[in-house]
Amino acid sequence: MSRLKWEHVVGILGLLGMIGGHYAGLFVAPPERMMGDVGRIFYVHVPVAILSMLMFSVSGLAAFGYLMSGRMGFDWLVESTVEVGVMLSTLLLILGSVWARPTWGVWWTWDPRLITATVLLLTFVGVMLLRGATTNPEKRATWSSVATLIAWVNVPITYKSVQWWRSLHQIQTPQDAISEPMRIVYYENMIAMILVLVWFVAWRWRIAKATAMAEAPEPLPAEVSP
């Protein structure tokens, strides 16, 4: 029987935390002053938004690490964090749309935050497609690291878009503007989601490593002396 890997323990803790956090978000936290119960979407939307940008920032750091060191471990980290980030970004747009309908009256509008978030998603989908364009591991790692760094430039633009341009989307809420019962539920959901994402990234990293090892050419046989 194989030993249970540490990331699966972290993942199980994260899932349990998410169950508790979602229960609290749905039934324990008070309704938001203006949005009423619809404000409960906050407990899933905001952690996903922050952590998707954080995930792409880790991709950027890993890409930089690969370009500086040439170590394939960084490339596997790029592969795993970009994929998890794309999953999160897609979910983020869906959650934003679901929240926009009862609060703004529309599923979608050409708002600066929505546009920059969509461009961010599409550029990182481009990084994933680029990785599939070559079978050479070193070329793949170099190309995708450069593309990841270029795509990452949109992370701070997306974050600041609500401050730089006139936007329907509200600006970032200061932590002290959130009442304590809401803040506790928010932190609980944020911590639980971080644990689940650490699980996803570590698991995906192992898959990337195993795939790379399987693709590596067989070593040449040792020369036999007569």
Binding site: H22, M34, M87, V98, F200, R206, I207
Partner: protein, 42 residues
């Protein structure tokens, strides 16, 4: 004047179908991704 005094103090009522949709979408994405990792595991 009454209208002005109450403007901005309203609260959205209901909307549980959107709340449920958001939480279900989160679990579908996270569950689906975990399954995809399990399937791809060596």
């Amino acid at each position: 004047m009454i209208l002005l005094a109450t403007a901005g103090t309203g609260q959205i009522v209901g909307g549980w179908e959107y709340i449920i949709m958001a939480y279900v979408a989160t679990w579908v994405f996270f569950g689906g991704y975990a399954i995809s990792l399990y399937v791809r595991s060596p």
